[in-house]
Symmetry: C2
Subunit: 308 residues, 2 copies
């Protein structure tokens, strides 16, 4: 496992995710390479410059600045909403050095791979799809932390076209932040996250939506307690981000939703039949699994609660 | 609002709920009345005696001890699983003084009222149904706290047969613990709690159940993060307790489940149609409502996280 170093890292979207990577590589790993931040406008990355998270800022719309930013870049990270990944890659493609490795931080991967293939064409071999599993309730570069990725999973979904060395280089970058790098196919990634992340978000939004649609919503909210609080914490997540994830991971999410609906129908039948034994058995299995998950380490909070 | 005092309080089931009431009345309100704990056997209430939470212990099966325990009691609290409320009231009925007020702490109310009517007959006027909305992750008398009810809601569901003075007496007892007493019908109670408590528990158990049934459950759990952690915390709740609640509140819970399934079907259709605007609008409404709920005070944790 080679130690990681870089001369120039270019980050598209210097918010929590991109900003934390830059801070981790500088402050945690002590690396001295140049970090360039690119935003829609120079103003949108000015705060990152002010905070010293990046060394240089460039505007996406400025061809000359963009070309300069990408010149001799070792690594490009796309840390933008998944729906923007395709357009961003298409914008970058004409200015991309042949030796630059591009990676991303999107929450879904099949759609990203598809749009990357369209945007990059033959240069798809330069793109290593990735997904760091980390977040905070607060967002933006002011929330960026050098320790955000410590003991977190980062998933890479290498493609047949990727040179193994390029995949290893992106893996070693993430390991330098303290993360644990794991590989899987983009299909497997999307199925796993549809199940443990995207579906629970939809279910949580749906519960609040259901209550809101009833005439005694206020009364219900006034009696909501700890179970409701935890179950619906993720219903306060970003509507735009979760709209995009639902659309980007549509197929896998629909499959999980249908499967979940079938489980609910089974529970419903047991309640309807007053089948206490079936309910208790199912609840007991879930309880054991949930407790074991927690005991195996569950998920360690970093800073404040993780929002993903 | 008359100050509360009592000469003799009898608690059936001296665990977290009953024990915290006793401790609150003594330690928080500084009241000096006698507290008698009744358990299946004297041994099961010995720990409460040891801790000084009660003054006297009696065994449910012992007619003479039970008659003595109930003699001249001002108030009887049934703090046992809802399924046991009917049998307990039937057991108590023959020994009940005409001036004793009986109340309970069950999580469901329509079924409790029905079984109380059967068990108490004409003495139903002595029974004031109640539900303190408080809990901790730990249970048993060792977890009892004098502050458990401070700023918590206690719901009373007065019946037409209750004398207003008796209802007020139970209300003043709970207010002495620091709780906020609210009244509603048992039907309304069961609908509200089916919505904000019972349904989320079933939904949370169902998600873990769904994952467990898949061949890659271990892989999925290994990538579960903060959203999963919070969403499924209540899936570690007591299977017996939640089996009983599901059965006791069957009708209201089935109605909520069906309503929820309809909301999910609506969300599914929007995802299937890639209707981003509909998804974003629904998510945004939920987010605003969830944030407002939190800002209005949400629910204050007491000691450790509230489990209900």
């Amino acid at each position: 496992m080679a130690a990681f170093s870089f001369n120039k890292l270019v980050i598209f979207g210097v918010g929590l995710i991109g900003g934390s990577l830059a801070r981790a590589l500088r402050e945690r790993a002590g690396l001295a390479g140049r970090v360039v931040g690119v935003g829609r406008s120079v103003r949108s990355v000015e705060r990152a410059l002010e905070l010293g998270v990046i060394d240089e800022a460039a505007a996406l719309g400025d061809d000359i600045a963009l070309a300069q930013a990408l010149q001799c870049a070792d690594i490009v990270l796309i840390a933008a909403p998944v729906a923007q990944t395709g357009p961003l890659l298409a914008r970058i493609a004409p200015f991309l050095d042949a030796r630059t490795i591009v990676t991303d931080a999107g929450s879904t991967k099949s759609d990203v791979v598809e749009s990357a293939r369209q945007a990059l064409g033959a240069r798809i071999e330069q793109f290593v799809p990735g997904h760091p599993i980390a977040g905070r309730e607060s967002s933006g570069v002011d929330a960026a932390l050098p320790e955000l990725y410590v003991d977190r999973n980062v998933v890479l979904c290498p493609m047949p076209e990727n040179a193994p060395d390029n995949v290893e280089r992106i893996a070693s970058m993430w390991r330098a932040t303290g993360a644990c790098v794991r590989e899987m196919s983009e299909t497997q990634h999307d199925r796993v996250f549809a199940s443990v992340s995207h579906l629970p978000h939809v279910l949580s939004f749906a519960l609040v939506d259901q209550i809101l649609a009833t005439p005694d919503a206020e009364l219900k909210f006034s009696f909501a307690a700890g179970g409701f609080r935890d179950f619906t914490r993720i219903a306060a997540s970003s509507p735009e981000m979760w709209r995009d994830i639902c659309l980007a991971n549509r197929a896998a999410l629909l499959a999980e939703l249908d499967d979940y609906t079938a489980v609910l129908a089974r529970f419903r039948a047991a309640i309807d039949a007053s089948d206490g034994a079936a309910l208790e058995a199912a609840f007991a299995r879930s309880r054991v699994a949930r407790k074991e998950w927690q005991e195996r380490g569950g998920i360690k909070p970093s800073g404040d609660a993780v929002a993903k």
